[in-house]
Symmetry: C2
Subunit: 151 residues, 2 copies
DNA sequence: CGTCTTGGTAGCATGTTGCAACCGTCGTGA
DNA sequence: TCACGACGGTTGCAACATGCTACCAAGACG
């Protein structure tokens, strides 16, 4: 079950995101979904996670609106788990984590899976945090306004 | 302790990142560090986390090279936890999670903390995943090459 | 039908988290 | 210099989550 009040500073969007995803397994499930996995068995084989845990995570992700459970596309009576628009919106999160991992946890030349542009087979640009007027921002260039009512 | 082999598909950078951060508390610690928190007590008050958990997480983050434990800047004998370059490189991850949370978990007009450009006080641009030649990419525009040795 | 695959559930051992109490050191004012 | 509170933890324990294994029902498939 997703504990909806695990973090009480929930006016922070980061905390809500974190709470919504639930745990790290869930994020890897989402990664596999971006990768094309749809069936229970695919996720299970890919992740090596226990089936009861996978059941719980999939259910939580569906309940949270990240995945949807739909009839299988191959005509069988089984179900498939596909990303909702909300789930697809996690794409930058996954890409950011992937790029951070590539830069920090692999020796030069060490093999690793790679996310590429389908059209040209080239790697992606590193994500950039930009200001409204297009300047590249470092962490020090930003600050947090604690509460606001304007969107 | 950080279990270095929690996910066995560790040729995937996402899995390594996830494993390195350890758990969600750690990510919120990093968020607070970006926000200016440095001292044990600051993190503890901000997060409301139990002190033994915070101790373990801080230690893991230091061991993982995300934070560094340095002498306090105010001249006291206490220590402070500051982001290393590797930790600062998590900035896009935090920003991505923040933007996802803002878009999906707040009603229009509902107050929430906001990350702004320090220079003009304006909100940031949404992160964009770009191809090498600058096209905006959706998840469907990308694919994963399972293994590669070229960097 | 008979058998294999799929997608689970149930029970139990173990690991992790959270809470509360305790403790040594540091800082500070009198 | 000494008392007292704040800081930064550690320890023990109860509760909960995780992971493993066994089991199982329905669907696919010959």
């Amino acid at each position: 079950m997703v504990s909806r009040t695990r973090f009480d500073d929930s006016e922070c969007p980061v905390a809500r995101s974190v709470d919504a995803i639930g745990d790290w397994w869930s994020l890897l499930i989402v990664r596999d979904a971006f990768d094309g996995s749809r069936r229970f068995g695919e996720f299970q084989r890919s992740l090596g996670v226990a089936k009861n845990i996978l059941t719980a995570r999939l259910r939580a992700l569906v309940a949270g609106g990240v995945l949807a459970s739909v009839p299988a596309s191959d005509g069988s009576a089984y179900r498939e788990y596909v990303l909702t628009p909300k789930g697809k919106a996690l794409f930058p999160v996954i890409v950011a984590l992937r790029q951070w991992g590539e830069q920090n946890f692999f020796a030069p030349g060490e093999p690793h899976s790679q996310l590429v542009d389908r059209r040209h087979g080239q790697r992606l640009r590193p994500l950039e945090v930009l200001s409204r007027d297009g300047r590249r921002l470092d962490p020090d260039d930003t600050t947090v306004h604690k509460i606001t009512t304007t969107r």
